[in-house]
Symmetry: C2
C-alpha cells in the first residue's frame, strides 16, 4: 500500500544535486519509514549536474514547467536568490503544490507574503534547510518544544564566520581577519564576495526566521541589528582569552517585557560554555525556554549533504502530514506583532578596548567618565604598555547600550584617548 | 474555531505535576500554536500534589477511571514502573485513546506489545519524555533526520552518572565514586538505591529505544551490554586526563555490516569533543547519519520541567497529527530484526591499567603478550612507581574485544602482574 508523492526539484546546484541523490539513495529506507515512494517527477535546471544520473528523469530547462506539472505534489525550490524564487514559489502555491525551500533570504524577506498565500491555498511551505543546514532546529522549536514558552535563541548560524573566528582564535595564531578570510575563500568556505557571511546578513536572515517561530511574530528581518566580524582583531581575541572568554559571531533573539531583541554581532562568551566549543564551520543553536530550560542543537550548517538532509526531511513531513504544523509554528491568525527593541535600548555587559597615553591619572579619568554614566566596571586593566601608549581593556557590568554610547563618545573626546574605542558585547550563555 | 483535546493525567508525582502545571500555564500559547485547547479532563492519582491546584479538576483515586473516561482523548501515563503501567496503557489503547508516556522502562521492556496493540487500534503511543528528558531527540531522529540513514547514536543519557563522573573529574578532585555518589544522593540527583542509574540500566532502557528508532528494528533491551561506573577510580580519571581524554558514561548503538552494537559503559573520549563538554546532570545525544553527518542534541535529561516539556510536546503532536509518524519511526510492517553483536564481537581501542612489579623486563613481557594477540600498542607508560610496584597504563589500537579478553587473561596470569587489569573502552566521537 505504498503511496506516491511526486517531487519536483527546481535548481540542480549543490543543494539540488544533494537532494536529488539523497531521494534516490535512501528511497527504500524512506518507504520503510513512511509507506510513501517519494518519486522525482521532474527536475528543472539550467544545466545537468555531473553528480546526478538524470537518464530516466524528466528534465526541463524551464523551472516554471515544474510548478505546473500535474505529477508534482511538492516543489523543492533550490535555485536561491529572491525575485525568481519568489515568483516560482508563489506560482507553485497558486497551483496547489506544497513547497520546500532552503532559501533563507527568500523566507526572511518575503516569507510573510508566501505564508499568507500558502495558508489561503491550503498548502504547506517548509524551510528547515534555510536555518543551520542539517540541524533540525526549526522542527525542534516549532514541535519539539511546542509546550514551552521560548525566552531566547542564541546561535552560531554562519559557518564561514565561525571558521574565521575559530582560526583567528587558535592558540598562538595572531592571524588577522583578512588573512584568514583569504584562506576560507581558498578552501571554498567563503564566497569571492564574502559580505553576506562576514557582515552577518546571512545570519540575520536565519535569525529573523528563528525569532518569528519562537515568539509567534511576523518575520522582522527589516528590524534586525546586524554587525559583522571584519573589525575583530587578534588583540581583541587575545584580551578576551585572558579574561576567560572567546569571541563568536552570534545571532540572538530574546523576548523581554518591552519587546524583542533581534541582533547579530560578535560577542564574548565564557570559554567553558557549550557554544564556545562550536568550532570551524559547525553551527549550533541554543534555545532557552520554560520549562525545558536550555537545550542546544549542533551540527553542520551548510554543504550538499546536510542541507539535502533538511530538504528531504521536510519532504517526508509533507508526505506524512502536510498541514499538521502551521508555517510559522503558530496559527496564521495568532501571529502577533511585538515591538523590536532598537539596539541602543538593549542591555548588555561590554568589553571595551581603547588606547590611551600611558601617564598618571588616565585610568582615573576613564573610570570617572564611566562612573558618570552609571556604568559599573568589573575590570579595567592596562595591557602591553609601549612607548608611552597602552591599550586599556575594560569589562563593564550590564548597561543600556544608549548609556554606553554616550560614555564612549565622551571617552573618545578625552585628549588621552587615542583611536576609536572598540566595543564588543559580552553574553552569558 | 478552537478544537478541544481531553487530556487524562495518570500519576501526579514530579512529572505528572509538572505536566499538569505546564498544560495550565501555557494553555493560551498552545492554542495560538495549534488552535487546540488541551483540556485536563481528569487526573488519576493516589494523592493530590501540593504544587497543583486541583480545585476545578475531576480527580480520581483510581487511575483506571481515566482510561475509561469518554472525555479523555489522550492518556498521559506518568505513574512509572512496569506492570501496572503496562496494564494501564493497554487499557487506554483498548479504549481507543492515544498514549503519551515518560516511562523508559515500560517502552524498553514492553514496547513491542504496546506498539502492536496501538497499531491495531489505530492510536498513537508517544514517548519523547522517556529519553533524555527535555531534549526532543526522539523527534529529531524519527522526523528531523527522516531522510537520513543513521549510522550511530552515542549519548550521555543518565544525569546521575554524568554528575558523578563530572565531580570526580574536577581538577584536583581525586574523589572516589562512593564519596561523590553520597553527595549526589544528598542533592537528590541519585536515588537511595542508585543501581538503576549508576549501573547503566536506566541508560540501557533509553538506548534500546534510540536504537530501534534509528535502525527500524525491534527494541532489544534484552540484548544490551551494560556496564556501570562504580568501578571507575580517581586514578583512571587522572591517567585518562594525562592522555588527553575524559571519562563519560555512554550509551552507544551502531549499525555495522554484521549487526548492531548496543552497549552502555564508561568510555574515554577526547577532551575536546562536544560530548566531553557535557557536564553535571546535563544530557546529550550525538547522532551520526548520512548525509547530515554528526548532529548533537543537548539539554536537561530529567526534572519536572524538562520532562513535562517533552510530555506536553507529545500531547501537542497527538493533537496536531496523531498518526503522522509511526510509533518507532518506521512503519510497523517495516520493522526488521537485525543481529545484535555480543560485546566480545565489537571492536574498540582500549585503555588498560594494571599494577606490575617495577623491575626489568616487565614491560617487555606485557608488550609481548599483547603482540602475540596482534594487539598494537599506541602507548605503554609506567606511572607513579612506588615501593617496587608501578601502575602501567596502556592504550591499544582497535582490537576485537574477544582478542583483548584473551590477552587480559594471559596478562593476569603473569607473576609480575598484581591485581585485576582495568579495561575501559576508548571511543572516537
Amino acid at each position: 500500500m505504498t503511496r506516491r508523492i511526486g517531487v519536483g526539484i527546481c535548481g540542480l546546484g549543490t543543494v539540488g544535486s544533494g537532494t536529488f541523490n539523497l531521494l534516490r539513495a535512501n528511497a527504500d529506507e524512506m518507504i520503510r519509514k513512511t509507506g510513501i515512494r517519494f518519486d522525482i517527477a521532474q527536475v528543472g535546471c539550467r544545466r545537468d549536474h555531473p553528480d546526478c544520473d538524470l537518464s530516466d528523469v524528466d528534465v526541463t530547462r524551464d523551472i516554471f514547467d515544474v510548478v505546473k506539472n500535474p505529477g508534482v505534489d511538492v516543489v523543492a525550490e533550490l535555485i536561491g536568490g529572491i525575485d525568481v524564487a519568489f515568483e516560482l514559489v508563489m506560482a507553485a502555491i497558486g497551483n496547489g503544490k506544497h513547497v520546500v525551500t532552503a532559501n533563507k533570504a527568500l523566507i526572511a524577506e518575503r516569507g510573510e507574503e508566501i505564508f499568507a498565500a500558502a495558508t489561503a491555498a491550503g498548502v504547506s511551505v517548509r524551510y528547515e534547510a534555510a536555518v543551520a543546514g542539517g540541524i533540525p532546529v526549526i522542527k525542534a522549536v516549532r514541535e519539539g518544544l511546542a509546550g514551552n514558552r521560548i525566552d531566547f535563541i542564541a546561535g552560531i548560524i554562519n559557518g564561514t564566520g565561525n571558521f574565521i573566528l575559530t582560526a583567528m582564535s587558535e592558540p598562538g595564531s595572531n592571524r588577522a581577519f583578512a588573512e584568514v578570510l583569504k584562506e576560507a575563500q581558498e578552501l571554498g568556505y567563503a564566497e569571492a564576495d564574502p559580505t553576506f557571511d562576514v557582515e552577518g546578513i546571512d545570519a540575520a536572515h536565519k535569525l529573523a526566521i528563528l525569532s518569528a517561530i519562537a515568539f509567534g511574530t511576523p518575520i522582522r528581518f527589516d528590524a534586525m541589528y546586524t554587525e559583522g566580524i571584519s573589525a575583530v582583531t587578534p588583540a581583541d581575541i587575545r584580551y578576551a582569552d585572558q579574561l576567560g572568554y572567546c569571541i563568536k559571531h552570534l545571532g540572538i533573539t530574546r523576548r523581554g517585557e518591552d519587546g524583542i531583541e533581534l541582533r547579530v554581532h560578535p560577542a564574548l562568551i565564557d570559554k567553558t560554555s557549550m557554544l564556545a566549543q562550536v568550532n570551524g564551520v559547525m553551527n549550533a543553536v541554543m534555545v532557552g525556554s520554560e520549562p525545558a530550560g536550555v537545550t542546544m542543537y549542533y551540527g553542520a550548517g551548510a554543504g550538499a549533504g546536510p542541507t539535502a538532509s533538511a530538504v528531504v526531511s521536510d519532504i517526508v513531513d509533507v508526505g506524512r502530514a502536510p498541514l499538521a504544523v502551521p508555517n510559522l509554528g503558530f496559527d496564521a491568525d495568532s501571529i502577533r506583532s511585538m515591538p523590536v527593541l532598537a539596539i541602543d535600548q538593549t542591555r548588555c555587559c561590554f568589553y571595551l578596548k581603547l588606547t590611551a597615553l600611558d601617564k598618571a591619572g588616565v585610568m582615573a579619568r576613564i573610570s570617572s567618565v564611566l562612573g558618570q554614566h552609571n556604568i559599573s566596571i568589573e575590570s579595567l586593566v592596562q595591557r602591553d604598555a609601549r612607548a608611552g601608549h597602552a591599550p586599556v581593556v575594560i569589562v563593564t557590568d550590564e548597561v543600556q547600550e544608549s548609556e554606553l554610547d554616550a560614555a564612549i563618545t565622551e571617552l573618545q573626546a578625552l585628549p588621552e584617548v587615542e583611536e576609536k574605542v572598540t566595543r564588543i558585547r559580552i553574553e552569558s550563555l
